[in-house]
């Protein structure tokens, strides 16, 4: 069963998107090859739901992170070789040779570029294969490398006599040899070469992602079975922010809801995004920006963060939020294990409606102890009321410290509900009442 995450949540957490500034995907997208990028994207878009599988993959990343391997192949050569192999060659040996001859003739007569491209691609492929063959020699058969199975297969391929002969060639190739090798690589050994490329791309992804992890000092999450119902992290921060301040979180069956208060600029949204995207990365087996992170596998993430703070939408905005909450309510009540992040729910409406709605909705959700919730609001009165009503809610806040008349934010979570009442303070700082009375 696939992991549930919808477009809004992906956007809230700024996860996917190659060209999006600061997207989490673009953070990890340091791969060298086009094929590597394809593979990375494929992995990135498909979180896993089996804890063993997650732990296996994160172990591979971890291994690469420690090994500090470089990706030793030339990007352009790989592209050329791949293009050459993709051009396809469906003809038999004779047909293939005739095709090549045709290209050669038209090259001689008209300077047609195809022949050159073809021979170029062929030579690049041969070069690349030599490199791969050399690269493979460094692995001893008994080595405890996580990709050992694949490496073994590649070694098998390179033991093929035809390939060894080919790689021994040193001088300029005659047309006869060219057409023979052309047939060999693009037809006879097609399947085998595809496997070679597959392993190259995997190497590319593992090296690129683990390089990012090393650079950013990231750690790895430990996946637990779904039945455990927990999320426990320490030193967790946002990987795309340079000076992100780390905080801890611990949610479980007994305390399955984190109720977050704090002023508008205090960092509530960033903390919620950090939790959401780290859980996503954790489900990929990817590195996370945390000292430690343990989590039970969830079935999906739903968020409502960042609903653009556009009050012009007024009612329709409120209604859209209500529909979003309804959607999540249906998923939650269907018994799914979800991580739900609601940031400043109902902010488009008046304070009173927002108070009533946030209170009712939070209380109703809190009963689903198989799900984890993070709910934030600036309406501190909701928190005070919830504290009376529910035992399984954890209260944290992000403080504001007034330095003279300037608010400063520490971004360090504290226990409880904020008592910051900036509202009147700001009005007083701006001297508004005095200005009117003048």
């Amino acid at each position: 069963m696939s992991f549930i995450i919808d477009k809004q949540s992906l956007e809230d957490l700024n996860l996917t998107g190659k060209y999006k500034r600061n997207s989490i995907y673009s953070l990890f997208n340091q791969v060298k090859t086009v094929g590597g990028e394809r593979l990375l994207e494929q992995i990135f878009n498909h979180p896993l739901s089996d804890p063993d599988e997650i732990n296996r993959r994160s172990a591979v990343f971890h291994y690469f992170q420690q090994q500090q391997l470089a990706f030793p192949f030339d990007k352009e050569k790989i592209e050329k070789a791949e293009k050459y192999l993709h051009e396809g060659n469906d003809a038999g040996y004779i047909g293939s040779a005739i095709g090549l001859l045709k290209h050669k003739l038209s090259h001689a007569v008209f300077h047609s570029p195809e022949y050159e491209q073809l021979t170029d691609g062929l030579k690049a492929t041969i070069d690349l294969l030599r490199k791969v063959s050399d690269y493979l020699k460094q692995f001893k058969d008994a080595e405890n490398h996580p990709l050992m199975a694949d490496i073994g297969k590649l070694k098998q391929i390179f033991r093929d006599q035809r390939l060894t002969d080919l790689l021994k060639e040193s001088a300029e190739l005659s047309f006869f040899k060219l057409s023979r090798y052309h047939y060999l690589l693009s037809k006879t050994l097609k399947k085998e070469l595809e496997l070679v490329f597959k392993v190259l791309y995997e190497l590319d992804v593992y090296i690129a992602v683990s390089d990012v992890a090393r650079l950013k000092g990231m750690g790895y999450a430990r996946a637990l079975p779904a039945s455990v119902d927990c999320l426990k992290a320490s030193g967790l921060s946002h990987p795309a922010l340079d000076k992100a301040i780390a905080n801890s979180i611990s949610l479980n069956r007994e305390q399955n809801m984190l109720f977050l208060t704090g002023a508008n600029m205090a960092g509530k949204s960033t903390w919620m995004k950090t939790i959401g995207l780290s859980m996503y990365l954790a489900h990929l087996g990817f590195p996370v920006a945390a000292k430690s992170l343990e989590f039970s596998v969830m079935e999906g993430i739903f968020s409502s963060i960042n609903v653009p703070d556009n009050l012009n939408m007024g009612y329709s905005h409120f209604y859209a939020e209500v529909l979003r909450v309804k959607d999540v309510a249906q998923q939650v009540s269907a018994g799914k294990n979800l991580l739900v992040l609601f940031d400043e729910l109902f902010k488009g409406t008046n304070v009173k409606d927002a108070y009533d709605a946030t209170l009712a909705v939070s209380q109703a959700f809190a009963n689903y102890t198989n799900c984890l919730f993070v709910i934030s609001t600036h309406i501190i009165e909701v928190g005070e009321e919830l504290r009376e009503r529910c035992a399984n809610i954890q209260f944290r806040y992000l403080p504001t410290i007034m330095e003279g008349s300037v608010p400063k934010y520490t971004y360090l979570l504290k226990e409880g509900i904020t008592s910051d009442r900036q509202g009147m303070m700001i009005i007083e700082n701006e001297n508004i009442l005095e200005i009117i009375g003048r």
Binding site: A263, N264, M265, D309, N310, L311, N312, G314, Y315, F318, Y319, V322, L323, V325, K326, A329, Q330, V332, S333, A334, G335, F346, K347, G348, T349, N350, V351, K352, D353, A354, Y355, D356, A357, A360, V361, A364, F365, N367, Y368, H378, I379, I380, E381, R421, Q422, G423, M424, I426, I427, E430, N431, I432, L433, I435, I436, G437, R438
Partner: protein
């Protein structure tokens, strides 16, 4: 003349200019036929007036044209040609005298060079314009009892047109038969006369014509839409009476009446989200804005003491890019308004749903504090909306010049229905929870648990 002040936020809130292509109050009236008229109209929108006599004068002129129902007496295309022609003020562009040999004439007949042609076009267009103008003044429906009647408010504006018609230097030019082709020499002569000697006079006449274009199109809209002409009064009375005011963009809008005077210069408006608070506030603001231009307004009747400015806070944008929270943006907006108030001007202030971006307690305290500070400014008028009816209860005890009105929500079974008709008092209607209950969110969550 006193200056009427406002700012960008207000213009945005009231959709005075709007974004290109989108609905705006300007585009509602912008049915001018000439681009010069459109420019004049936009200028009038940019500079509302703050003296009641000026306002009433303009209003009377528009009413006059609304009654007359005249058509614009010129071909709009003429003006582009004339403006283009007059814009070339280079002395060297005059047509040079040349031999009127037969061969030259023939050459001219076959290929007029572009320069000669453009001058010829300009002269011809002006001849057409003057002929049309003459005919217009001769029209018994217009000419006799306006242009010559010094009593009429429009007569002052007719002057530049009349001056041109009565200019003796132009007699010869005007006597030329409009259908006849002019000779090269004649064109060259008239060109010097029109484009250089009489340029300023012609320009003034064009401006008067553009102004006429504006009056005719505004009057046309007023007739078509059944707008009324507000009466402007001196500022000191501090009184505005709206009767049957509505928003011009709302189809089938419900009209409301409201009186603001020194005994109740703060309107405290409550009502649910969809009950129509913002629309009503926008209707009031729009009517006030148009009234200060001397324009017809979407209402049955209206009279008002002139204000020196109008400021609104209805659709406040956040500026999160600049690291500003919504609450802070609201505070800064109030501060801006307060600074204007601090200058002891007669202002009209509209503030919709203060302090959304904060907690209940702060919103309550801020609303009470700000509203009672406002209420002390008896020379200004305020329309304020809020959901915090407790603030209304407190204010009722503190101030005696607050007029409490609300827009009701009626329940039709489970569905809220809105009348959009103002009533006296404070309402506790809110429907956030109604929507949540209608969507059955809590039921969804509670039902499954109990199984």
């Amino acid at each position: 003349m006193m200056h009427f002040s406002t700012d960008q936020q207000t213009l945005n809130d009231l959709m005075v200019f709007g974004k290109p292509g989108a609905n705006s109050i300007l585009s509602l009236f912008n049915k001018t036929l000439t681009s010069g008229g459109a420019e004049k109209l936009a200028d009038m929108f940019r500079y509302p007036m703050a003296d009641f006599e000026g306002i009433n004068t303009r209003s009377k002129i528009i009413q006059y044209f609304a009654v007359k129902k005249l058509a614009f007496p010129f071909q709009p295309a003429l003006f582009d040609v004339i403006e283009q022609y007059l814009s070339n003020t280079d002395e060297r562009s005059k047509l040079q005298p040349r031999e009127s040999s037969v061969s030259e004439k023939l050459k001219g007949l076959v290929v007029a060079d572009p320069h000669t042609k453009s001058i010829n076009d300009g002269v011809t267009a002006l001849r057409q314009l003057l002929a049309d103008l003459q005919r217009f003044f001769a029209d018994p429906d217009f000419g006799q009892n306006t242009g010559t009647d010094g009593q009429h408010p429009y007569s002052a504006e007719v002057q530049p047109m009349q001056a041109l018609l009565q200019d003796a230097d132009l007699n010869g030019f005007m006597e030329e038969n409009a259908g006849k082709t002019l000779s090269y020499t004649a064109v060259a002569g008239y060109d010097v006369l029109l484009r250089f000697k009489k340029r300023d006079k012609i320009r003034s006449c064009l401006q008067a014509i553009y102004q006429l274009d504006v009056y005719l199109s505004v009057a046309g809209i007023a007739v078509q839409r059944g707008f009324c002409y507000p009466d402007a009064m001196p500022a000191e009375r501090g009184e505005v009476v709206f009767e049957g005011v509505y928003h011009p963009f709302v189809k089938g809008a419900v009209a409301n009446s409201l009186r603001i005077d020194p005994q109740g210069n703060v309107i405290f408006l409550t009502g649910a989200n969809m009950a129509g608070k913002s629309t009503l506030m926008k209707s009031l603001g729009t009517a006030m804005y148009l009234a200060h231009m001397g324009f017809p307004v979407p209402a049955k009747a209206m009279s008002f003491s002139v204000r020196e400015g109008i400021y609104t806070s209805i659709n406040l944008p956040d500026n999160l890019g600049r690291g500003m929270s919504h609450f802070y943006a609201e505070v800064l907006r109030i501060k801006k308004v307060s600074q204007e108030l601090g200058q002891n001007k007669h202002l009209f202030i509209i503030i919709d749903e203060l302090f959304r971006g904060t907690n209940v307690k702060d919103a309550y305290e801020a609303t009470v504090a700000i509203t009672s500070a406002f209420a002390a400014k008896r020379n200004c008028m305020f329309v304020m909306s809020t959901h915090i009816m407790e603030a209304g209860d407190t204010l009722k005890q503190r101030c005696n010049n607050i007029n409490f009105v609300y827009l009701p929500t009626k329940m039709d079974g489970k569905l809220p229905v809105y009348t959009y008709r103002l009533e006296k008092g404070i309402t506790a209607d809110r429907h956030g929870m109604i929507i949540i209950n209608n969507e059955g969110i809590l039921d969804i969550l509670n039902k499954k648990l109990s199984i």
